[in-house]
């Protein structure tokens, strides 16, 4: 029986430790179409795809609810191998290619053609000799299919980035039974030209009856190339359209649309005229988060937000200022130029930093809460030290006392100041990070992803602590966050960082779609006229 849909996922729900991440989501893909799946980071796209591929992370966390149908028949997909068997392929965001191999070897990876022989009969396929000629011939045929006119014996490493994407697709196509290929942000690493060519090729392949699920943030691409689209927000399906029936503006509205109640926002604060921090043509070379020529002025006492999608460069702002990654351009603090590469000097000029990578950069996981809280002040301000015979020693008594005070103040749930931070929950770890930054009594506090992976109660506590500090000390706070709603609830202004540049600065009260458009890299005029 031929079904209308090659894939149907019906009523999919998934919880991680009681946190719902997918709520009754249904998507359908027709044969030979490109279905776009759009949504913010954390909207549930990758969880949905993990379910489709039967990834172990899903099954080790109590599975999911709902049903998957392929060609109208209900199937159980409990491992990536099952998915492969059902003809579902994946093109990864980072290339799963070996640079030193010929294209044919990469396309045929672990599915090499083997010659017949006695040894192979005796010892199994492992002892079979590779049939390189057949590999090359078959690969050449597949490369033809994707419209890539290139010798199958070429070294993969010497190819331009754009081509590598094709080779990944060719690999999936080369699997005889493949019917559906998932493209996970395939155009993120491509230039506009390359992306165009790539998507044309994808369209070409659909003519053979192969379908694609296309995950992307670039709404223009969705509009131009996809037949059909599903929009996820906060784990729910908020819209399913044929792309010609919907405008880019509508899509971005649905994507962001938390419909923040503007009346609930606090009144716009009168900002001081004084500029405390200014970035001029600031570029940061942070792998995966490049920032190019960003310029922005931040006022004294302001709460300023950086929003944007993961990988677009918002995280580079704070990391660049703190000198954790090489940067160029000017940083001006209180009218004086700041040498961003000299971390210690930056710290001693009352700039403090809470990293987004809490466990990697933000904490000494195998040290006590006490050390974690006092270490910055000890390093920068020579606090918590006592001098004996001219040598500075750590003053454990003072440190302990201070740490205990902070534990109370921030309500850090722990067994005591000597507990190692590794064993704290995410929220309490974050409180430790913020307590440490506040110990420096900063004039500018850079906080990245303050509420990532934290339960609701701790979230509120942390945001309250930040606003409270802002009000009592008048310190400027710069928050980088993927949670737009959260930024809009506490910031005075929000800059949107897209594809390495600041595309606009908005007020919390601005309309939802404007945020969506800026994040998708569509200029407002372009989005408006569709």
């Amino acid at each position: 029986m031929q079904s209308e849909f090659v894939l149907e996922m019906k009523g999919i729900s998934k919880e991680y430790f009681g946190n719902p991440v997918l709520k009754d989501v249904s998507i359908r893909v027709r044969p030979g179409e490109i279905m776009a799946l759009v949504g913010e980071n954390g909207a549930g796209k990758s969880t949905l795809m993990n379910i489709l591929f039967g990834m172990p992370t899903i099954h080790s966390t109590n599975g999911f609810k709902g049903e998957i149908r392929i060609d109208g028949e209900t199937v159980q997909i409990s491992s990536p191998l099952d998915a492969m068997r059902h003809g579902i392929g994946m093109v990864h965001q980072e290339f799963m290619l070996i640079d030193d191999y010929e294209i044919a070897e990469n396309v045929k990876l672990n599915r090499e053609n083997l010659k017949k022989g006695i040894l192979r009969k005796l010892f199994g396929d492992k002892a079979g000799v590779l049939d390189r000629r057949a590999m090359k011939e078959e690969t050449a045929a597949t490369l033809d299919e994707v419209g890539l006119n290139i010798d199958a014996a070429t070294h993969t490493g010497s190819l331009p980035v754009g081509y590598k994407q094709f080779i990944e697709i060719a690999r999936e196509l080369d699997k005889n039974n493949v019917r559906l290929i998932v493209l996970d942000e395939p155009t993120a690493v491509l230039t506009e030209k390359e992306a165009e060519k790539f998507l044309q090729c994808v369209q070409e392949v659909t003519k053979k009856g192969i379908s694609f699920i296309f995950i992307t943030h670039r709404l223009n691409e969705v509009k131009n190339y996809a037949n059909h689209m599903a929009i996820l927000r906060d784990g729910s399906l908020v819209g399913e359209y044929d792309t010609q029936d919907v405008s880019v503006r509508k899509i971005s509205e649905l994507m962001i649309g938390r419909s923040v109640d503007i009346s609930q926002l606090e009144e716009e604060r009168k900002l001081s005229e004084e500029i405390i921090l200014e970035l001029k043509d600031f570029s940061v070379d942070m792998p995966g988060e490049f920032l190019k020529n960003a310029s922005v002025q931040i006022h004294k006492g302001e709460i300023f937000g950086f929003a944007g999608l993961a990988g677009h460069g918002k995280a580079a702002v704070a990391n660049g200022i703190m000198g954790l990654y090489p940067s160029s351009g000017e940083v001006i603090l209180n009218g004086e130029p700041l040498n961003a590469s000299d971390t210690l000097a930056t710290l001693s000029k009352s700039v403090a930093f809470v990293s987004e990578d809490r466990r990697g950069v933000g904490l000494l996981l195998d040290e006590s809460i006490e050390i974690n809280v006092v270490i910055s002040a000890l390093r920068v301000k020579n606090q918590f030290l006592k001098k004996i015979a001219g040598i500075r020693f750590y003053d454990k008594k003072a440190g302990r006392k201070y740490a205990e005070k902070m534990i109370q103040e921030f309500d850090i749930r722990c067994t005591g100041a000597s507990q190692h931070t590794r064993s704290l929950s995410g929220g309490n770890q974050q409180k430790v990070c913020i307590a440490r930054a506040m110990t420096l009594k900063p004039e500018v506090l850079l906080v990245s992803e303050p509420t990532r992976g934290i339960d609701v109660g701790a979230k509120k506590r942390i945001l309250d602590a930040l606003t409270e500090m802002n009000q009592s000390t008048g310190a400027a706070i710069i928050i980088t966050s993927s949670e737009l709603a959260e930024l809009r609830s506490i910031c005075d202004r929000i800059a949107i960082v897209t594809e390495g540049g600041i595309t606009g600065i908005l007020k919390p009260s601005d309309e939802d779609y404007r945020y969506g458009l800026l994040m998708s890299g569509v200029s407002e005029e372009e989005g408006g006229c569709v």
Partner: protein
């Protein structure tokens, strides 16, 4: 549920006295009991192990800084030992004797060790991830290079050079210089047990020095940077210089260590003798409960006591039971390498 989980994690926190250490202590006490049942000379066994503890403790202490700074186990410890030997030989050449001679040896070797430590640290900074292997082969090759060095160095004292031919003897007696000078200092004998008070005091001084260093501002910075280099960078701590500081400390301790070792042993041993000296020290600190990433002064003290007394008390007993004299050397190889192997498999890293 969250609470239970955090309690479990807390138990995994680093302790210098873990279950395996307690078992080993009980085992040791049992062995002592057994030795007296077998009518062996228990007090001599104890004396021997105290002396061996005194000889080896500084080497074990030398492992501490490099572990703390994130380099890991210092397989290149013999580089420091070579510095100490050179300093020591110069004092013998000039017929220096007594405590003065000993201190002179240490003083001469110090600048050498500092220089070597800086170079060694600089090399290791370019070898992140392969420090153990590179350190080990650097050690092996420099030791063999110094073998040539010992043959051509212009020493003239007849206590040092071979009576026939050229070059330095392979063992140089300290009988007329400072043999047992620290061991015999304030030496106490209780119930047949000889306690080399001077040596133990010297070790105590070094341990206290290390303890204080680790609690100074610099020491705290080194530990932070070693535990998490990026965290350190976010506080403006230069991880490279912290690592060099640690190799300098370790190399200096290696140099001081061999001088203390030799005064107790009575000889300077040259040529290939120092090549494998890092191994027992590494095994000792690991037995004391350290890992390749974390160690404390407690691990050092407990480790050297456990490892050395295990070897000096347990091995004669097994030899007694099995009646074979080469057994102890073999068991020593198996135990120390087995321990190192175990620690390597427990290292944080990718597994397949």
């Amino acid at each position: 549920m969250m609470y239970v989980k955090s309690m479990k994690l807390k138990n995994r926190q680093h302790r210098w006295l873990g279950m395996s250490q307690i078992i080993m202590i009980v085992f040791l006490l049992g062995l002592l009991l057994l030795s007296s049942i077998l009518h062996m000379d228990t007090s001599t066994l104890i004396s021997d192990s105290i002396i061996r503890i005194g000889m080896q403790a500084v080497f074990v202490l030398a492992m501490l800084p490099t572990i703390q700074s994130g380099i890991g186990l210092n397989f290149g410890l013999p580089l420091g030992i070579l510095c100490g030997l050179l300093g020591g030989l110069i004092t013998v050449e000039n017929n220096m004797t007594g405590l003065g001679g000993l201190f002179a040896a240490i003083l001469i070797s110090l600048p050498l060790a500092v220089g070597v430590g800086i170079l060694y640290g600089w090399v290791l900074n370019h070898m992140r991830g392969s420090e153990m292997m590179v350190g080990n082969y650097l050690n092996f090759s420099i030791i063999s290079l110094m073998c040539i060095g010992w043959m051509v160095l212009p020493f003239t004292n007849k206590n040092i050079i071979w009576a026939m031919g050229s070059g330095v003897r392979s063992t140089i007696t300290l009988e007329s210089n400072y043999e047992h000078i620290l061991d015999n200092l304030f030496c106490i004998k209780i119930a047949g047990i000889t306690i080399p008070t001077g040596t133990l005091l010297a070790i105590a001084v070094l341990c206290v020095f290390m303890f204080l260093f680790l609690r100074s501002k610099l020491g705290v910075m080194m530990r932070c940077s070693g535990e998490n280099a990026v965290f350190g960078a976010s506080l403006g701590i230069n991880n490279n210089s912290m690592r060099i500081l640690s190799t300098v400390l370790s190399t200096v301790l290696g140099a001081v260590g061999i001088i203390i070792y030799s005064q107790s042993y009575g000889f300077y041993q040259l040529y290939t003798a120092p090549q494998m000296m890092a191994y027992p020290a590494i095994a000792a600190i690991l037995i004391g409960g350290a890992t390749t990433r974390r160690a404390d002064i407690g691990n050092v003290i407990l480790g050297v006591i456990l490892y050395q007394s295990l070897l000096t008390i347990a091995l004669p007993i097994t030899s007694e039971l099995l009646d074979n004299s080469s057994l102890s050397e073999i068991l020593r190889t198996i135990i120390s390498n087995g321990i190192i192997l175990y620690a390597l498999t427990k290292m944080v890293g990718r597994k397949v």
